[in-house]
C-alpha cells in the first residue's frame, strides 16, 4: 500500500543533537537540502563566472541570463532606486528557485514546502520593506494606507482595508509559496501511490498523470520563485516610490 503522501514533508534530524540555550537547532534533512541548494547556486555561479569571456560559453551565458532577468525584473517593477537591493532579490530568487527545483528530484526534500521557511523569508521582507519605507519617507509612509482620489465617505473603510491588506502581505506571500509547493508534491505522491496500487493493469493512467504533473510542477517551481521575487520587488517599490 502506498505510504502517506505527507510523509515526504516530515523533518528528522541528521547527526548529533545541537541545543543552544535550550532550543533545538539540530541539523535536519531540511537544513541539508538548504545547504545543498545554496551549494548548487554557489557552484553554478562559480562556474558561471570562472572565465570572463567576451563570447560566453553555456554556463556563463546562463548565469548572465539569470542576472539580466532579475535586473530587468527589478528595474521594471521598482525602478532605479531599488538597485542597492538587487543582490538580495537575486539571492532570494535563486534560493527559492533552487530549493523548488531540488525538491523536484525524487527522494529529495522540498525546503520551501514548509510554512516556517517561507514565513521567515516573507516576514523578513515585510519588516525590511516597512523599515525602508519609514527610513525613506518618515511618517509620510503611512500615506500608502490613504489612497488618493477616494471619496471622503469611503476613506475610513478604504484605510482599514488597506491596513489589513498591508499586514496580510507576509501571510499571503508565505502561504502562496508553501501551499503551492506542498499541494504539488502531495499530488505527485498520491498519483505515484496509485501507480503502485493499481499495478500493471490500471497503473498507466496515474503514471501519465504523474508525468504530466511533473512537468507542471517544474513550471510551478519556476513560477513561484518568480512570483515570490516579483512581489518582493513590488513591495519594495511601494516603500521606495511613495505614491500620493
Amino acid at each position: 500500500m502506498a505510504s502517506n503522501p505527507m510523509q515526504q514533508f516530515s523533518v528528522h534530524k541528521i547527526g548529533p543533537e545541537i541545543k543552544i540555550a535550550g532550543i533545538d537547532l539540530s541539523f535536519t534533512n531540511a537544513s541539508l537540502f538548504m545547504v545543498i541548494s545554496a551549494s548548487m547556486i554557489l557552484l553554478f555561479l562559480f562556474f558561471g563566472t570562472k572565465e570572463k569571456k567576451i563570447i560566453p560559453d553555456k554556463i556563463q551565458l546562463i548565469s548572465e541570463i539569470f542576472y539580466t532577468f532579475v535586473a530587468k525584473m527589478i528595474s521594471d517593477t521598482a525602478g532605479s532606486k531599488a538597485k542597492p537591493y538587487f543582490p538580495f532579490i537575486f539571492s532570494l530568487f535563486m534560493f527559492v528557485l533552487f530549493c523548488n527545483m531540488v525538491g523536484m528530484l525524487p527522494y529529495s526534500f522540498t525546503v520551501t514546502s514548509h510554512i516556517i521557511v517561507t514565513l521567515i523569508m516573507a516576514l523578513f521582507i515585510f519588516i525590511a520593506v516597512t523599515i525602508i519605507g519609514f527610513a525613506k519617507h518618515g511618517f509620510r509612509y503611512l500615506s500608502i494606507f490613504v489612497p488618493s482620489g477616494v471619496p471622503t465617505v469611503l476613506l475610513p473603510l478604504i484605510t482599514v482595508i488597506e491596513i489589513i491588506s498591508y499586514l496580510s502581505r507576509p501571510v499571503s506571500l508565505s502561504v502562496r509559496l508553501f501551499a503551492n509547493m506542498m499541494a504539488g508534491h502531495t499530488m505527485l505522491k498520491v498519483f505515484g501511490g496509485f501507480v503502485i496500487s493499481l499495478g500493471l493493469l490500471g497503473g498507466w493512467l496515474p503514471l501519465g498523470f504523474s508525468i504530466a504533473l511533473t512537468g507542471l510542477e517544474i513550471l510551478v517551481a519556476f513560477l513561484q520563485a518568480y512570483v515570490f521575487a516579483i512581489l518582493t520587488c513590488i513591495y519594495l517599490n511601494d516603500a521606495l516610490n511613495l505614491h500620493h
Binding site: 502506498a2 502517506n4 503522501p5 505527507m6 514533508f9 516530515s10 523533518v11 534530524k13 545541537i18 532550543i23 533545538d24 537547532l25 539540530s26 541539523f27 535536519t28 531540511a30 537544513s31 538548504m34 545547504v35 545554496a38 547556486i41 554557489l42 555561479l45 562559480f46 558561471g48 563566472t49 570572463k52 569571456k53 567576451i54 560566453p56 556563463q60 548565469s63 548572465e64 542576472y67 539580466t68 538587487f86 543582490p87 538580495f88 537575486f90 539571492s91 535563486m94 534560493f95 525546503v111 514546502s113 514548509h114 510554512i115 516556517i116 521557511v117 521567515i120 523569508m121 508553501f178 506542498m182 498520491v190 501511490g193 496509485f194 496500487s197 493499481l198 490500471g202 493512467l205 496515474p206
Partner: protein, 191 residues
C-alpha cells in the same frame, strides 16, 4: 475509462481515510521550527554575502566589459568608416584632378604638335621652293649652255662631214651662220 475513474475514486477514498488516520501536516509540527529558522538564516546569509560580494560584481563586470567592448568596436568601426569615406572622397578628387590635367596636357600637346608641324611644314615648303627655284635656274642654265654646246658640236660635226664629203674646208663663219639658222628653227622642238 469509466472503470479506471471508479478505481481512482475508490483509492482516493481509501487514501483520504489513511490521511485522517495518520493525521496531519508535518509542517505544522513546531518541533524543528527553531532549527529550520536557524539554518535558513545561516545558509541564506552565507549565500547572500557570497553572491553580493563575489559573484554579482563578477557578472556585472563581465557584462559591462562586453558592452564597452561592443561600444568601442562600434565606435572604431564608425571611425574607420568615416576615414575610408574621406579617403574615398580624396581619391575621387585626385582622380578628377588627374582627368582635368590629362585633358589639359592633351590640348597642350596637341597645340604644340600642331604648331611644330606647321613650322616644320613651312620650313620644308620654303626649302622645297628654294630647291625648285635653284633647280629651275640650273635647268635654264643648262638649257642655255646646252644650246651653245649643241651649236658648237653641230658646227664641228657639220664642218667635219663637209670636209670628209667634199674634201674642202669651208669657211667657219658661213657654217656657223647656217647651223645657227637651223638650230634656231629646230631646237625649240626638243628643248
Amino acid at each position: 475509462m469509466k472503470r479506471h475513474f471508479g478505481f481512482i475514486i475508490a483509492l482516493l477514498a481509501i487514501q483520504n481515510d489513511l490521511f485522517a488516520a495518520e493525521a496531519g501536516m508535518p509542517q505544522l509540527d513546531p518541533k524543528y521550527w527553531a532549527s529550520q529558522a536557524f539554518w535558513l538564516i545561516l545558509v541564506f546569509t552565507i549565500l547572500y554575502i557570497s553572491i553580493a560580494k563575489f559573484y554579482l560584481p563578477k557578472i556585472k563586470n563581465n557584462l559591462d566589459n562586453r558592452e564597452n567592448k561592443i561600444k568601442d568596436d562600434l565606435d572604431d568601426a564608425n571611425k574607420f568608416k568615416e576615414l575610408s569615406e574621406n579617403k574615398f572622397k580624396e581619391y575621387e578628387k585626385i582622380l578628377e584632378n588627374a582627368k582635368k590635367e590629362v585633358i589639359k596636357i592633351q590640348i597642350e600637346s596637341k597645340n604644340k604638335l600642331d604648331k611644330d608641324i606647321k613650322t616644320k611644314k613651312e620650313t620644308v615648303e620654303k626649302e622645297i621652293e628654294k630647291e625648285i627655284i635653284k633647280a629651275q635656274k640650273e635647268i635654264s642654265d643648262l638649257k642655255k649652255n646646252s644650246i651653245s654646246d649643241i651649236q658648237k658640236i653641230s658646227e664641228n660635226i657639220a664642218s667635219n662631214i663637209i670636209e670628209s664629203i667634199s674634201g674642202d674646208k669651208l669657211n667657219e663663219s658661213s657654217i656657223k651662220a647656217v647651223v645657227e639658222d637651223v638650230s634656231k628653227k629646230n631646237l625649240g622642238k626638243y628643248l
